[in-house]
Structure formats: C-alpha cells, structure tokens
Symmetry: C2
Subunit: 183 residues, 2 copies
DNA sequence: GCTTGCATGTAAGCCGTTACATGATTTT
DNA sequence: AAAATCATGTAACGGCTTACATGCAAGC
C-alpha cells in the first residue's frame, strides 16, 4: 500500500545498496527534496526481506561500526515492481501550497506577493538543479533505448523541469495580478 | 500539523457548512479528486470546535435524520488560517506516478506507451473540467480584486490548468521517444 | 425489492513522524 | 571541545484508511 517499499525497490532495481545508502540516494534520485526516516526505512527493509523481494547480499562488519548490510533485489522483487508500475495510481493527497493559495484572499495582497516571490525563488533554484542534473546525464551517453535506466531518469527530471517552469510562470502571473488588483 | 483541519477551515472561511456539505464540496473546490473520509472529518470538526476555531451555528433535526450540524468559522479561526497561509510549507510526499516512471525501463516499451496514453486521456479530462470551471467563474464577475474569494479560486484552477497542460505535453514527448527508442 | 442519498459517527489497524540510543572516527 | 559522519535500530505518538453502524425516504 505505502509507496516507500516501492521507492526502496526502485533503488535496488538499479544497484545493490545498504539502508544507509538508500537514505542518501533518495534525494537526488527518486525524488529530490523528500526525506525518508529511519523508522520507515529499516522495518520496511526487514519486511521486504521476509517477503523475499529483497535479499541480504553482504553483511560486512568494519571494526567499531554496526555491520553494513547490503541488499539486492530478487527476481520476485523485480516482478513485483513491474506489476506495480503498470497499475493505475490513486488520487494524490492535498497540496498544501495550493490549499494556502485557496485562502490567499484573506491576506493583504502585499504579504501574499512576498510569499509568492519566495516561492518563485525556491522553484527557480530547483529548476537550476534539475537542469544541471539532466545535462550531466546527457553527457554520459548519446542514445538511450527505452529499457535503459537513464531513459527513465531523464524522463522523470524532464517532468520536474516542466513542473517548475509552469510553477514559475504561474507565480509571475499571480504576482502581477495582485499588483494590478485583478486577474 | 495535518492539513485536513486547514482544508475544513478554508471551506468555512467562505460560507457556513455542515460536515456533510464539506465532504461534498471538497472535490470541485479545495482539491478536485481528493476524497476525505468520515473518520477524519467528524473528529477534526469536533477538535476545531473545542479549540474555538469553529462554532456550531445550527443543529436542525429533520424528522428521522441525524441532526444537521452547521458550523461557521470564528474570528480566531480566520486568524489561525491567515497565519498558516503565510507559513513556509514542507516538502511534498512522494509522487506515485513519478516513482512509477522512474521504473519504466523495467517494462516493455509497448506496455509503457499504453500506460502513458491512459494517463494522457485522464489529464485531458481534468483539463476540460478545469477550463469549464474557470469559464463559469469568469462569467460571474468582470473584475476580481485581490481580497475576493473568486480571485483565489481562479488562481488555484489556473495552476491546475498549467499542470495538466505540461503533464500532457510530457506524455506526448515520452510516448514519442518510446516509439523511436530514444529520448 | 434494491440501490442511492442524506447525515452523523465509531473501531481497529496500519503508516508515518519525531525523538532517542549506540559508539568510534574525522572534521571544524 | 564540539559537531558531523557512518550505520544500525527502537519507542511513543498521532494521522489516515477501511470498514462498520444507524435509519428513513425516494427512485429504479
């Protein structure tokens, strides 16, 4: 039900990793700006192992530290993930920023313009990060067939870019309307 | 913490409503396509009342039915909502569809094209709904100053329109790339 | 006669968040 | 001397979902 198990499988479908690695890679891959916490991560990994979707590959103790447990995805895990990819997905949860906008009429226009300018800056920053990321990917290889993980990574980031661009355009439009006092 | 309380306050900031009304209005207003359930709705309303952010306005029993409890927002509730609007918001949860796309390389391109075409159709449908909604709003009034609820409603729907448009463009682009086997 | 609509609510269980715990090494 | 890094995990709490419960009226 929860999408965290799929997020973990998504990372392992590309390369074997430890729980700690997955935590690091979560941002910058599956979703930038999303932070997983330990109490989701470790019990979920244990469950995935119990279900045979994931296998403990190595368990190397390095002197003082807790043993680093590297997991890899099983064939069953890959099938499970593929089936999920083809499923229809459920409606998304409420978007807090949009909910706030729905109430913007309660607030002084000047204050609202301040909020929107801050948002605009934030989304410009994200856009810059996405563009840098995609440029890096494109250097790695000239042609990406449909079954290459890079193909998927690029597609996801392109969606991010489009979203940020339309967000920024929208901010500009609303800021301008608030300045004119009409839309 | 949870955004449901703000969603309920958002509706009550515009007009007094019963819990049942809020459930109906949730879709088509704050967020299309999101469904609130009873066990969030009624206890949350009770809490809002206990906190003095909301007031029971009438409690009309109509023969056989449970009494219809109409709530209105208090001044304290409006202040609370305004303060929240000006707060910075937290990073969003994982987007299931994007997570699926991140794994598209595991799936046969033909199957993926099928999924994307279905998504495209779904988002075209949403776009049609948003455009109809905004056309309806624009008929109601010629000019909308910044402090009018209609201003906010229109801004939210315009964001929806932009999002759907870029989603559709992105689907087209990826479908085309999958057909060519490159991006 | 069955389903849908109106209108409120509760119970059980899973999911997610914040905070805590351990403990040596490296960086500031 | 303090904080961050590596690396695993647990405890407590609150949020959210699914399902259930009531009960009459109107439409198919």
């Amino acid at each position: 039900m929860s999408s965290i198990k799929y997020a973990l499988l998504s990372l392992l479908a590309r390369e074997p990793l430890s729980g700690y690695d997955m935590k690091q890679q979560m941002n910058g891959r599956v979703s930038f700006f999303y932070k997983i916490n330990n109490n989701q991560l470790y019990p979920t990994l244990a469950k995935l192992e119990a279900e045979g979707l994931v296998r403990l590959e190595s368990h190397e103790r390095e002197s003082y530290r807790p043993a680093r447990k590297v997991y890899s995805i099983t064939d069953k895990g890959v099938e499970f993930l593929k089936d999920w990819v083809l499923e229809a997905d459920e409606p998304r949860a409420l978007d807090d920023f949009m909910l706030k906008q729905y109430n913007s009429w309660l607030v002084e226009p000047e204050a609202m313009i301040g909020v929107l300018r801050a948002k605009r800056t934030e989304h410009e920053e994200r856009l810059r990060i996405y563009r840098a990321k995609i440029a890096g990917f494109r250097e790695q290889q000239a042609v990406f067939p449909g079954r290459d993980p890079l193909f998927s990574s690029i597609a996801v980031i392109e969606m991010g870019i489009r979203n940020e661009e339309s967000y920024i355009e929208w901010c500009d439009r609303v800021i301008e309307a608030l300045g004119r006092d009409e839309i």
